[in-house]
């Protein structure tokens, strides 16, 4: 009996392996998704994955795909675990994958060295390694519309414009203690010298995400004037609750764009009133293209969203934004290469030629959704402006215009970081830009 079971399992395993053999992918556009619908960050992973796949499905339903080819969007579950992310990458790259959107800085870091070898670009939209913005050094990596560094500089700019400037103030930086949270620290340290503020750092380990009382006790001890948070998942709600508990003024507490989703603030509710977060994608459903998503996908039951109201929330729209950029990249790649069935290399050229002006955003049905994105050979981070939004107890209100980053400070630092990254890799593939 057991042996039968065992043999059966082995047979199934073999069958499964055979099944995994690359399906001929010539006549579709394959955009795999590395999702995390499970694990501690599922609260963020689910809306992103839904937004991403729903927009692509909408293109299939409404336009019959892009350039006459349907888009396929196989999902592979990573649970926000880098190791599983790599497995997923290996498992899905064979089917003619065009681009990867890892949605995890840890996974992005692992994929960056693989991209030039497998000739599949990595698009880490507003996350990942900041240095990938340097196109000369990272031909295969893209992180527009902005890097963590430029985002941090925009936030500091905002703080500088309030309460008589940032000089002499103490900035508290609370962050998730993984690659993602540590990423902006070099910039923060550099700017603290040039702008004249002091920094107090409060790392929150993944294990302590939900018990932050001692971190906030330390905040109370240090008494920073402003708090900046690079948080994610279950960490955000807990942090805001704890901040409210120690009576920290929430309108002096700014989260980055992964710490400002509806899923983060809904559990906090009224308590979180006043909390500020950065964002790069518009909220709500008042965009023609999002209406199309509702009409062609959600109402037809083709979406994985549980409820219609999930469409238009912060992270859902972030997923949509990502999908729009990917779709635009495919269009450009098809135009440049002159064929509908493109490869990963073509896709790279398409992403590098990315140029979504305000007019083009309107054409796509996203007027006022986000800032224009323009990539060049040198600059893979695009424009980089962000805006800030404030929680009013039940929803987000936009409170600032687009804040451009301090390019003059960020760019040289990005170059230095890119050089450092490449320094110990003698055979790293770079490209020349004029």
């Amino acid at each position: 009996m057991f042996m039968k079971l065992a043999t059966g399992t082995v047979a199934l395993a073999l069958a499964a392996t055979l099944q995994m053999a690359p399906l001929s992918a010539a006549e579709t556009l394959n955009v795999p998704s590395l999702t995390y619908r499970t694990g501690p960050f599922a609260g963020a992973g689910i809306p992103i994955a839904n937004g991403f796949s729903d927009y692509l499905t909408m293109l299939n339903e409404r336009d019959g795909g892009i350039g006459g080819l349907k888009i396929v969007n196989p999902e592979c579950e990573t649970g926000y675990n880098s190791q599983k992310g790599v497995e997923c990458y290996e498992a899905t790259k064979g089917d003619g994958a065009l681009v990867y959107n890892p949605y995890s800085t840890g996974i992005t870091l692992q994929l960056i060295p693989k991209a030039p070898v497998d000739k599949i670009p990595v698009l880490s939209m507003g996350y990942g390694l900041s240095a990938t913005a340097v196109g000369e050094k990272f031909p295969w990596g893209f992180n527009y519309p902005a890097t963590y560094w430029s985002q941090m500089s925009s936030i500091l700019k905002y703080i500088d414009s309030k309460d008589g400037g940032i000089k002499g103030k103490k900035i508290g930086f609370i962050y998730l203690d993984v690659g993602y949270g540590k990423e902006p620290i070099p910039l923060l340290d550099a700017l603290s010298k040039s702008m004249g503020f002091t920094v107090a750092k409060f790392p929150v380990g993944v294990k302590e995400m939900q018990s932050q009382s001692s971190h906030w006790l330390k905040v109370r001890k240090e008494k920073p004037d402003w708090m900046i948070m690079w948080g994610f998942g279950a960490m955000n709600a807990t942090a805001i609750k704890e901040a409210a508990k120690i009576k920290y003024p929430l309108d002096h507490f700014i989260g980055n764009w992964w710490a400002g989703a509806n899923a983060d603030l809904d559990p906090v509710g009224e308590v979180g009133k006043g909390y500020i977060a950065a964002n790069m994608s518009g909220n709500g459903t008042d965009f023609p293209a999002i209406q199309d998503v509702l009409k062609f996908v959600v109402d037809k039951g083709l979406s994985q969203v549980k409820d219609r109201s999930e469409v238009g929330k912060v992270l859902y729209n972030r997923g949509v934004l990502n999908a729009v950029v990917v779709a635009e990249g495919i269009r450009l790649a098809q135009k440049i290469s002159g064929k509908a069935a493109i490869t990963g290399s073509d896709m790279r050229d398409g992403l590098e030629a990315m140029d979504i002006s305000a007019a083009r955003w309107k054409e796509l049905g996203f007027e006022g959704f986000t800032a224009p994105i323009k990539s060049t050979c040198k600059d893979h981070a695009g424009g980089g402006s962000i805006f800030l939004q404030q929680w009013n107890g039940s929803s987000w209100e936009r409170i600032s215009d687009l804040i451009p980053p301090m390019t003059d400070i960020v760019r040289p630092m990005l170059l230095a970081a890119a050089d450092k990254y490449v320094a110990d890799k003698p055979d790293w593939q770079t490209q020349a830009c004029e």
């Binding site: 057991f2 042996m3 065992a6 399992t9 199934l12 395993a13 069958a15 499964a16 392996t17 099944q19 995994m20 053999a21 690359p22 999702t35 619908r37 499970t38 599922a42 689910i46 999902e75 592979c76 579950e77 649970g79 675990n81 880098s82 190791q83 790599v86 497995e87 290996e90 498992a91 064979g94 800085t105 840890g106 870091l109 692992q110 060295p113 693989k114 030039p116 070898v117 390694l129 203690d177 993984v178 690659g179 540590k182 990423e183 620290i185 070099p186 790392p203 380990g205 993944v206 294990k207 994985q304 970081a417 110990d424 890799k425 003698p426 055979d427």
Partner: protein, 358 residues
């Protein structure tokens, strides 16, 4: 029919105490090795080698390590993931400090660092055992995880806090880094795992292995007949951590290419323990079977619904995976505490006496 020992006579003690007393077993081993070393590299697809075989072999090695400690010496450990981490981080430091040394040698050497750390955390086992030891190994797990984050020297003050594998060549063949071909990495992993399995087998069947098992079965009796618990336990911790450390170094250098702390977190330790339990406590074959089972199960589960034309959401598959692993552990511990290895040997026994029941 084929698997039968009639006509094979043992004429001296050496033959009698051989590990594979039956000719067919020896042929089978040769066959497996031939498949592993020749057939798979030639015919296996990159996906099969990269995502199935390499991780399977690496986890096997780690499972052997844990099996030495838990299965053979009876000291339960929930810190094996962290010991893999010690191997990985020390290999990273070694490779960056000595860029011109043979990287394969450094990977194996990194095991010694893991062994050293393992011995330190093994010291409490001299005074305590059972659940109490579980807590001390958990202490090792959480302390080491913390150290991997808070000691930036370990990852060369990298901004991201991740260790990235540099490109290294051995005899003009690229061995590590993203350009290294799957087959090269596979063959290195396979060779290391085969050699280390052979060493483990000799250790276990030798004097030191017997002393481990005596400690496991009854420590007081073992002490009375002259086994020194200090040496036996500490050596078990050392050897076990050595194996885990090499596995961890291989995991980063020959499989993932880069790693963060989360690759060595407590979940990893649990998975290794599951491999050992399901495969079979105190069995080398079991380590192979357990690693294969735990590693392949999610892959199969992901593929199964597609075979039947069902489209199940990836999250659900993951949840079901958890449930099945959990249920199987309970099932195995109730029905067959010796795991799959015991089933395997039962099958062989049945074949041996076939068609008679016994």
């Amino acid at each position: 029919m084929l698997y039968r020992e009639s006509g094979q006579f043992k004429t001296n003690y050496k033959q009698d105490s051989a590990i594979f007393p039956i000719l067919q077993d020896r042929i089978a081993i040769m066959f497996y090795l031939a498949v592993a070393f020749i057939v798979i590299p030639i015919f296996g697809s990159n996906f099969f080698i990269d995502s199935m075989m390499i991780p399977f072999l690496i986890f096997t090695l780690a499972a052997i390590g844990l099996n030495i400690l838990t299965g053979y010496t009876g000291q339960i450990s929930l810190g094996s993931g962290a010991f893999m981490g010690v191997g990985a981080y020390s290999a990273y430091k070694l490779v960056t400090i000595f860029p011109d040394t043979n990287v394969i040698l450094l990977i194996v050497l990194s095991g010694f660092f893991a062994a050293g750390i393992g011995m330190i955390f093994g010291l409490p086992s001299l005074r305590i055992k059972g659940f109490y030891l579980v807590v001390t190994t958990l202490a090792a797990q959480f302390f080491l995880e913390w150290a991997f984050i808070r000691i930036p020297w370990l990852y060369n003050y990298n901004d991201s806090g991740a260790i990235e594998v540099p490109r290294r060549e051995v005899m003009n063949v690229i061995v590590t880094g993203p350009e290294a071909s799957s087959v090269t990495r596979y063959l290195i992993v396979l060779s290391i795992v085969v050699v280390m399995t052979w060493i483990a087998s000799n250790l276990i069947h030798g004097r030191i292995g017997r002393s481990w098992m005596m400690i496991r079965d009854m420590d007081i009796a073992a002490e009375l007949i002259g086994v020194r618990p200090l040496y036996a336990k500490i050596s078990a911790f050392a050897v076990s951590s050595f194996y885990c450390g090499v596995a961890g170094a291989m995991m980063v250098f020959l499989w993932l290419g880069a790693a963060e702390v989360e690759s060595f977190d407590s979940n990893q330790s649990f998975l290794l323990l599951f491999m050992v339990i399901i495969g079979g406590l105190g069995s080398l074959v079991g380590s192979y079977l357990g690693a294969a089972f735990i590693w392949m199960l999610p892959v199969v589960l992901r593929a199964l619904p597609k075979l039947f034309g069902l489209d199940i959401n990836t999250a659900t598959v993951e949840h079901i995976n958890f449930m099945i692993i959990g249920a199987l552990i309970v099932f195995f511990l109730i029905i067959e505490p010796n795991g799959m290895a015991r089933m395997w040997s039962m099958l062989k026994q049945k074949l041996r006496v076939w068609p008679f029941p016994y």
